[in-house]
Amino acid sequence: MNMWRRVGVLLTVLCTVAITACGPGESPTTTTGPDGTGAPATTAGGDAPEAPTTTVAATTETTTEGAAASDTVVRVGATLEPVSLDLTAESGAAIPQVLLYNVYETLVKINVDTAEIEPLLAESWDVSDDGLTYTFTLDEATFHDGSPLVASDVKWSFERAKDPANNNPFGSMMEVVDTVEAPDDRTVVVTLSQPSSSWLFNMGSQVGVVLKEGATDLASSVNGTGPFTFTEWNRGSSIVLTRNDDYWGEPAKIGGVEFVYVTDPNQLNNQLLTEQLDLISNVQAPQLLEAFEADDRFVVSTGETNGEVVLSFNNARPPFDDVRVRQAVRHAIDKEALVNTVWAGYGTLIGSMVPPGDPWFEDRTGDFPYDPDRARDLLAEAGYEDGLSITFDVPPPGYARQAAPFVAAQLNEVGIDVEQNNIEFPQWLEKVFTNKNFDMSVVAHVEPRDMGQYGNSDYYWGYDDAEVQGWLEEADTATDPETTNDLLKQVAAKISEDAATDWLFLLPSLIVSREGITGFPVNAYALSFDMTNVAVSG
């Protein structure tokens, strides 16, 4: 009896997903509900900030001892396919997910489980006392084409990323770099124009990828230094990586990886259930996890990501230029109920733009507890005792389209009339992000340590606070980590207090794997699905 009920529930959910997955007129790989209501899973369209949800990574921590190396090719299912292989020209998160650490490497690596900086191509480094000079000693690595890694490759790669002519989407992270020198083949000296506490961390992301000097046409030729080589890309279905047997470090424990792209989350689950996949890198329909939790052939792991689901307000124009209106919204939404409804209870509540993995994390969820009465009072104080109307632009990802009706209903309770517009991702980029023509929107911000955007008054949410800008500047130029952390805590508290935006929840890293697959990270604190430690047993 019970089983039949479960099947029934599952089918109902499956049908909902499918209905939404097939809605016409939506953006590319996007699946959405016809009217944005109640549609479970979704995959991001386009590929920028919403891509978050597909980010997962591996860990160097998860132990794989005892698992012998095998030639098995592990098939990893994901919803969001890269648009290109050139991670220096495209911002899409799906690209580093495949290539970062697996194929291309950086001087330092961000541990995907702990968000800590670890040596990778640089076996060690020194930072001068003034925080301006970084001297890296390179490990003896080789590129996939057989040539040895030398310091001039690093110099060339960094200068290439910095040069605005190359349109690197993350080139601004290199702006602080003054010079890069290669005094000998094993040494790289980077001089910054001012101290930066975030620069080294950023070098562990795709902007810090070390390419072979003179590399061209990265979209069609992939020459990295990593433990896997790029084999082929069957557009529309999969990307295949093969173990690099000549890897300079500890070789991978599996024969290769095949990233299989399945846009329909329901189909993704079916492929794992029928063992056509070994692992799902990030489950887009948490409601469907039940099917795996009850089945001992599979292991469900839940962790954290950097993906803050930000409910953004246009701080630059009425009604959200009034702090009381923004605070009212923060009080009006029951975040716990929201996560339970929208993401099946998976996901961490956060009260500011800091995931628990960051060193300056403080629990700020108590700043604006769910309190509709307080929200009504604040609105009345702001002169909206008779209520107000706002527009709400909602891009396609599942978390957004599912959260939107919930948010609208709760705001309605306190007298805010919400007009929801579902828009495609490229349209979101133009209307909301570039033209700032919106009242309220929702999107996940997946880049690591991205609170700095609150110091940019030109950013789309238009939050302009001199104090916050000063603290952020100071925090980045401080040479002492304690000072940096304290200042960033202050920033996190202030943007929460000012309700610069609201934070609905932190996207979870949900991985389902076949029993016997080990070595992938639980959290996803870097934009890489790090397969370097993955092993297969049995």
């Binding site: 499918a18 590319p28 699946t31 386009g46 590929d47 290109s84 605005p164 529309g236 209307k431």
Partner: protein, 326 residues
């Protein structure tokens, strides 16, 4: 006899020339429409490439490099110039658009053609039976079955088949076209069985209704009554005179269904995770990859016009009266 033949040949040539003219004109109009409509959509390729960290100068520079800031007419003529030379250009993923379309057609065409073949195999005999047993039990049962078939959404049927046949019983794969394509013939075929079944049943149910009403009409036609008056049985009358007459509306619907499915099969492609043409089109629109969308639109338009042409030719083959009047 001779002059008649010459005139006949001339009229056929003229007819074909006219068809070819319409064909080319439609292609041009479709490609212009697609180009203009796509460029009117908000958001462009540069923006989707650089994402949320982009600054306006970098965007402007990238647009310059991509050439997307040029007048739309220049972009169009550049593109169409390439197409005339047989070059569809490169997609944003650095793939040749022409060969990518060919690769996707290797999934979509077998899917759609086998699906429609199955639909025809189901619909023609059952629709005919439903008509011949109209208002009797077998006819009613068949009509109800076809109504139910129409009412069930194809994707739902797809999910049911996947849930039971693939997941529960493990008889067939849940889609998953092999990455090596038709080189792995056996798994390619296996991966298409369920999608083709869904497509065949769903389209077959629709087609069956048309077959039934076409046959019903013929059954009541004077020439069938005359044939029966001459002593033929109903079956003989239908085979000799009826079915050919019923075929015209059925062929029309078949052609329409085929044309719709070239892109419409995207629903099935999504449910079964097949790398078909519809999915390529959706990706192209989302990435604002104008050359890729253009290439697909052109190919689809070409195929649809070709199907219409074949349907027209079939009309003339089926019904000699149309040949005379042309």
């Amino acid at each position: 006899m001779r002059p008649y033949l010459r005139w006949g040949a001339l009229s056929v040539t003229l007819y074909l020339l006219r068809r070819l003219g319409i064909f080319l004109l439609s292609l041009v109009v479709a490609s212009i429409l697609a180009f203009v409509l796509l460029s009117l959509l908000p958001g462009d390729q540069a923006q989707t490439m650089l994402g949320v960290n982009a600054d306006p100068e970098a965007l402007a520079q990238l647009r310059e490099e991509l050439g997307t800031n040029r007048p739309i007419l220049t972009q169009y003529t550049d593109w169409i110039g390439g197409v005339i030379r047989g070059d569809f250009g490169l997609s944003r993923s650095d793939a040749s658009i022409g060969s990518e379309i060919v690769r996707r057609l290797q999934v979509t065409l077998p899917l759609v053609i086998s699906g429609m073949t199955l639909a025809t195999i189901i619909a023609v005999p059952l629709g005919t039976l439903a008509a011949m047993y109209n208002r009797r039990l077998p006819g009613t049962v068949l009509s109800v079955a076809s109504q139910v078939g129409i009412a069930i959404p194809a994707f739902w049927m797809g999910i049911m088949l996947v849930t039971w046949i693939a997941v529960r019983w493990g008889l067939l794969p849940a889609g998953n076209f092999p990455t090596a394509g038709w080189a792995e013939t056996a798994s390619a075929v296996r991966s298409l069985i369920l999608p083709v079944t869904v497509l065949g049943l769903a389209q077959g149910a629709v087609l069956m209704r048309y077959v039934r009403s076409a046959v019903l009409e013929v059954l009541n036609a004077d020439f069938v009554r005359t044939a029966r008056a001459k002593g033929m049985t109903l079956g003989q009358a239908m085979r000799r005179h009826g079915l050919r007459n019923a075929a015209i509306p059925v062929v029309t619907v078949l052609g329409l269904q085929l044309a719709t499915l070239l892109i419409g099969a995207v629903v099935i492609e999504q449910v079964f995770s097949l790398p078909g043409l519809g999915r390529l089109l959706l990706d192209g629109v989302g990435n604002r990859d104008i050359p890729q969308v253009q290439g697909i639109v052109l190919v689809i338009t070409g195929l649809v016009l070709f199907i219409n042409f074949v349907v027209d030719v079939l009309y003339r083959a089926i019904d000699p009266r149309l040949r005379a009047s042309a």
